[in-house]
Structures are given as structure tokens and as C-alpha cells.
């Protein structure tokens, strides 16, 4: 299945901003992070189709998946 993966802030360094990925069915949000060699500890927010999700959320065909480190502002 195809999923669009988007990275933000320093997660982009040495990786990418946005990429369409071909993933096996039943891939979880956490597995994508592991495959990208991103430390789960550094992850702040995950969003699937503009809604927050968790490491164990299962991705679906056509999903847009955004991965953010811990960030803040105001």
C-alpha cells in the first residue's frame, strides 16, 4: 500500500521532507519510525490524516502520516 510520510524539524536532516512509501499492509506508525532510524524517544507528535495517532496505529492505503519531534512555541 502507498502511504505519504512527512518529516518535520530536525527529523528532516539526512532524510527527506515528504516521500511516498510503498509499505506492507498492517504496517504500524511505530514501524515506519524504526525503519527511518528515528529514536522513538525523540518523537513528540504523530499525526495520521491530520489527527493525532500512536505508535501502534495501523496505517491504511492512501494515508498521510506526519512525524514531529518534541517541539513547542507559543
Amino acid at each position: 500500500m502507498q502511504v505519504q510520510v512527512k518529516l518535520f524539524a530536525f527529523f528532516r536532516e539526512g532524510r527527506f521532507i515528504k516521500e511516498d512509501k510503498e509499505l506492507p499492509t498492517d504496517t504500524t506508525a511505530g514501524q515506519v519510525i524504526d525503519d527511518l532510524n528515528i529514536d522513538r524517544e525523540e518523537v513528540g507528535v504523530l499525526m495520521l490524516n491530520s489527527r493525532h495517532c500512536k505508535f501502534d496505529t495501523v496505517l491504511q492505503e492512501g494515508d498521510i502520516y506526519a512525524i514531529f519531534p518534541v517541539i513547542g512555541g507559543g
Binding site: 524539524a9 491530520s50 519531534p69
Partner: protein, 575 residues
């Protein structure tokens, strides 16, 4: 030497130094400005008349070595909202006031004639002088010239043309350590200073220092506090990308108000994002990391250079970039930086003014995205005080009324900032119930709703949002009294050593025995004081509402509407 109240009466041009009344002693920053406004300003007075007062107060820990403690508060009755108002800012003024032993500066009365004045403060008191040369000048010229007259070591509070012309969006500029400016931004306090006919205030503390009751305990607590701040990952991200790191995440969440609040995502988000800004700053030899005052260990500010590598602006915040960017559909950071610089110079609030531009675009005054015309209007109309310039300089509500626009994003006539309350509901409760009109900083629920700091809450659900906003508004009122930058809150929410260390510092500074509960009670009592002032000024629970269009117009991508009932909102005040 005990701290004193410095009082200036602009009606008879007299000054005095007074002892601090006992019930003001435990207050600083916002707690003190609001306490003084509530005690001395008649709630029904005209904000620009002789009975309003302008108060400046450093935080309780300002002027000490405590990390991030250099915030100054200004308070008055607001000409924009008609409510009580406190606005706070970095820069060097809080430290100067605290060091000279000035617990608060109260400016009252109004000159009888058309003369302009300046104030100069030293540990010995206040001098009032006539001012002619700098009238009509922008803030940057004022800072340059005042530094030449005194020295570049002094602190400066000043107004630009916006404040002189009594515009409701006018702010007060606060000189930063590099002789650039930060702003006491919201609520038109620059107009109050202009109504007192004061162009600038020079602050010279000489080599005076703040006294610390128990230096060893203070140092130990500050060490723990600083470590909590420095270690928190949010602090690290703030130092790299500034607050503008929020553009992409708020856009992703569908809560980035776009094109005068008609959509929740902006096509040009990447071009104006913190990531893009960081790369541009590095490429052009600017500084991604910069503190708005000495002692800041987070350093969310930055130095932004233009294409040629020359200084353009500093301390540009997410909310300003959002307002001039997504809300007006401008996707060019250089144009936004140029506008930020112009608005700082004229001395009007970037959020209020840019949201006013968004409403003007909807009203057909100019096209969405036309940043060249925005710049022209700022320079040729607002700075010169033409009719159009004054309509925009009086804020989003003023533009809406003038051009018959119904989609006007304001609460209590103050522009709603960078988070759409339909898609991020907790912040809507803060906008509705804040004692100061729409203001995200009053109870920053975004931390929990979007950023996952201090727990998590579904931004599209109403559940628990009133409690979330209430808890944060109480905590914020207390933090705003310490002189601490609000960005300590991320560490405070997550790291259990942070707040106790802050309380320990307060105790060591003053030789007192506060507990964490006392600090929470302080926050509650400040909110209640402010709320009581507003009620006496004629506000009711029906003013704690969002504009109607949020209930009737779904905002994409979530197609969410604002669905809190009035009764639900009113439970906010049950404490």
C-alpha cells in the same frame, strides 16, 4: 534598600517615590499591574482619558540571576478591549527597573496642553522632560537617538507613530540587549502611553543590584531550575527554529487559520515555516538562536537578515508570521520580515494589525496575498495617520465595522491569534474567557491539545477543555507575576523539579516561605481581580463568547464548528 513605587502625575508634572503598600508586597509583574489598575483606575474611565493609569512592573525575580526572569509587565485599561490589560515582554527594561528598586512605575493624569514629554528613571527617582526632537519618529530612530543622549547601557520603553496617534493596536517597544526592540504587544497600551504624552522612558540603573535574602539557597535553586529548562527538548527546538516551528504542525492539525479564517490549512505553509526560516537565517549569516534578554537560556529569538545579509528583523514570532502569512495568504518570508520591521518601527501590534489586514482583504480594500500593497499601506497610510491607516491601526474590529465585514475574528474586540478554535477547541475557551480579549498566551492549551506536553487532549473534542484552560490560565497568571518567560511552562509541565525550584527562588529572594499552593492561589486571585474589574466596567458572561461565524461556518479540513454552549463556557469561572 526596600523596593519603592515610583509615581508620575502628568497633569501637574509631579513625581514621587512611595513605600510599597503591604498588600502589594507579594505581587510582581502581572499580579502587581492588575492589582494597581483594579485599585486605582475607575473601571468605567475612558482608556485614553486622564483617569486611566499606565503601570509598568518587573517580575518578582527580574533583575536577579534567575534564568529567563527578565519579563516586564505593563497594565492599564485597554483602549482596544475596554477590559483590564496586562501585556508582557522581554528586553532589558525589567532588569533595569528591578535593579533600581522600582517595584512599579505608575503613570497617571494627562498634560493639559499639546506638549510631549519623556521620563528618565534612576535609583533616585523620575525626571520629566519636554520632548520635541523625536515626536513623529519611529521606534528605531528613538532608540538610536536616546542611546546617544544617555548611553547604550540604558533600558528604553518607547512608542512609535501608532502610539502617538492613539491607535488601538499601538504597542510599547522595549529595547533588547542589541538595541533592537521587543514589544508589549497587545491591547493598545502604546495608545495609553501616547495619551499621557510620553514618547519614551529611559531607565538607568547605574550599578545598582537586586538584593537576595539567601544567596546560597537562591543559587542552588537557580541551578536546578536552569537545568530543567535547558534539558527539556522543547527548549532545544525553540533555540533552533524559534516559535515559528509551529507553522507546520498547526497546519498539519488543520488549525492554521488561513485567508481570514476561512480554512485551516495554508498551501504556502512550507515557505513560511520555521524549518525554511532556519535555513534562510543560516544561509544569510544571521543567528537562529538569540535571547531577548540577558539570562535567557532557551533563546527562541533570532536575527533575520535580508537577501544581502544585512540585518532585517529579530524576535519574529510564529503568531506574527502566521498573521501576515497564512491569514493574509502571503507565502514570502522576506516580505513578512519586512512588514515585521515596519510594524515594530511604527509601534503597532503585528497580530492585531495583520488580522485587521485579513479583514480588510475580505472587505475588498486590497487583494489577499498582496504584500506589496500591505507594505505601502503600512508606510503611507498607517505611519502617516490617513483615514485608512487609522481604520486599520485601530484593529480588526474597526476594519470590520468600517467595511461591513461579518467574519471578524475578535473576542472583546481583540484579534484572535494563530490557532483556529473550531479545530483546536481548548484554545477557544481561553479566547472566550480570558480577562483580556482573545489571547493565546493567557492559557496555552495548544501544549496539551497539539504538542503533547503536559498530557494530551483531543483538539476536536470538547471534553475536559474548560478545566484544561482554567488550570493553565491560573498557572499563567502566577508565572506572569514572577517575571518568567512563559516558555518555562513546557519544562514546568513535564519536569517535576522545575516549579519547586521556582518557588525556592522566590523564597530565597524575599526571605519568605511560599508553597506551591500559595502560587496557585496567587494565580486564582489575580484572575478574580481582573474579572471583577471587567464586570465593574460593564462586561457580562455574554462577552465571553466567540464570534457567531465560528458556530455557523465549518472550517476545512475537519469541517469542525465551534459547538460550546454559553452555559458550558460560563462554568470556567466556577472556582
Amino acid at each position: 534598600m526596600a523596593d519603592k513605587i515610583f509615581r508620575v502625575n502628568m497633569t501637574d508634572l509631579s513625581t514621587s517615590i512611595e513605600d510599597v503598600p503591604a498588600d502589594w508586597a507579594g505581587h510582581g509583574g502581572r499580579g502587581l499591574t492588575s492589582t494597581i489598575v483594579a485599585a486605582e483606575v475607575p473601571p468605567t474611565s475612558h482608556p485614553l482619558g486622564p483617569n486611566n493609569k499606565l503601570i509598568f512592573a518587573p517580575g518578582l525575580l527580574s533583575g536577579t540571576a534567575a534564568a529567563n526572569s527578565g519579563r516586564i509587565s505593563a497594565g492599564a485599561k485597554s483602549p482596544l478591549t475596554g477590559t483590564i490589560k496586562e501585556s508582557n515582554s522581554g528586553g532589558t527594561s525589567a532588569q533595569k527597573l528591578a535593579k533600581m528598586g522600582c517595584k512599579a512605575l505608575i503613570i497617571e493624569g494627562q498634560p493639559q496642553d499639546d506638549s510631549w514629554y519623556s521620563l528618565s528613571l534612576t535609583p533616585d527617582g523620575v525626571t520629566i522632560s519636554k520632548e520635541e526632537e523625536l515626536i513623529g519618529k519611529g521606534n528605531f530612530a528613538v532608540v538610536e537617538s536616546v542611546e546617544k543622549r544617555f548611553s547604550d547601557k540604558i533600558g528604553i520603553l518607547s512608542i512609535g507613530q501608532g502610539g502617538e496617534m492613539l491607535m488601538s493596536a499601538a504597542n510599547i517597544s522595549v529595547k533588547d540587549p542589541d538595541s533592537h526592540v521587543r514589544s508589549l504587544g497587545r491591547g493598545g497600551l502604546g495608545a495609553v502611553m501616547g495619551s499621557k504624552k510620553i514618547k519614551f522612558i529611559a531607565l538607568d540603573a547605574g550599578d545598582a543590584k537586586v538584593e537576595i535574602s539567601d544567596m546560597d539557597a537562591f543559587k542552588a535553586a537557580n541551578k536546578t531550575f536552569t537545568k530543567a529548562l535547558v534539558d527539556h527538548p522543547v527548549s532545544q527546538a525553540l533555540g533552533t527554529y524559534g516559535t515559528n516551528v509551529l507553522v507546520n504542525i498547526i497546519n498539519e492539525a488543520g488549525g492554521l487559520p488561513t485567508k481570514n479564517f476561512t480554512a485551516g490549512q495554508f498551501e504556502g505553509h512550507e515557505q513560511i515555516s520555521g524549518e525554511t526560516m532556519h535555513d534562510l537565517i543560516v544561509e544569510r549569516g544571521g543567528k537562529p538562536k538569540h535571547g531577548c534578554h540577558k539570562g535567557c537560556v532557551i533563546q527562541c529569538s533570532q536575527i533575520y537578515n535580508d537577501l544581502k545579509g544585512n540585518y532585517k528583523t529579530s524576535g519574529i514570532e510564529y503568531e506574527s508570521i502566521w498573521a501576515m502569512g497564512a491569514d493574509c495568504t502571503v507565502d514570502n518570508l522576506d516580505q513578512i520580515a519586512e512588514m515585521d520591521h515596519i510594524l515594530d518601527d511604527i509601534g503597532i501590534d503585528t497580530i492585531e494589525t495583520a488580522v485587521a489586514f485579513g479583514v480588510a482583504m475580505e472587505g475588498g480594500v486590497l487583494d489577499f496575498g498582496d504584500s506589496n500593497e500591505m507594505i505601502r499601506i503600512m508606510k503611507e497610510e498607517i505611519a502617516k495617520g490617513t483615514a485608512l491607516g487609522r481604520v486599520i491601526g485601530n484593529g480588526a474590529g474597526s476594519v470590520g465595522r468600517t467595511y461591513g465585514v461579518t467574519r471578524v475574528p475578535v473576542v472583546k474586540n481583540q484579534a484572535i491569534p494563530a490557532y483556529d478554535p473550531r479545530a483546536i477547541k481548548g484554545i477557544g475557551i481561553t479566547y472566550a474567557t480570558s480577562t483580556q480579549g482573545a489571547d493565546h498566551t493567557m492559557g496555552y492549551t495548544i501544549a496539551t491539545e497539539i504538542l503533547g506536553v503536559g498530557g494530551s487532549a483531543d483538539p476536536l473534542s470538547k471534553e475536559g477543555m474548560v478545566e484544561l484552560s482554567r488550570g493553565l490560565q491560573i498557572a499563567t497568571a502566577a508565572i506572569d507575576s514572577t517575571g518568567m518567560c512563559l516558555f518555562i511552562a513546557f519544562a514546568a509541565l513535564d519536569d517535576e523539579t522545575c516549579l519547586p525550584a521556582l518557588v525556592d527562588m522566590l523564597n530565597a529572594r524575599f526571605g519568605i516561605n511560599l508553597t506551591a499552593d500559595d502560587v496557585t492561589n496567587l494565580g486564582m486571585s489575580i484572575l478574580k481581580t481582573e474579572h471583577a474589574f471587567n464586570i465593574a466596567a460593564g462586561f457580562t458572561n455574554l462577552d465571553d463568547r466567540l464570534p457567531e461565524f465560528f458556530e455557523t461556518e465549518p472550517v476545512p479540513p475537519h469541517n469542525a464548528v465551534w459547538d460550546f454552549s454559553g452555559e458550558e463556557i460560563d462554568t470556567f469561572w466556577n472556582f
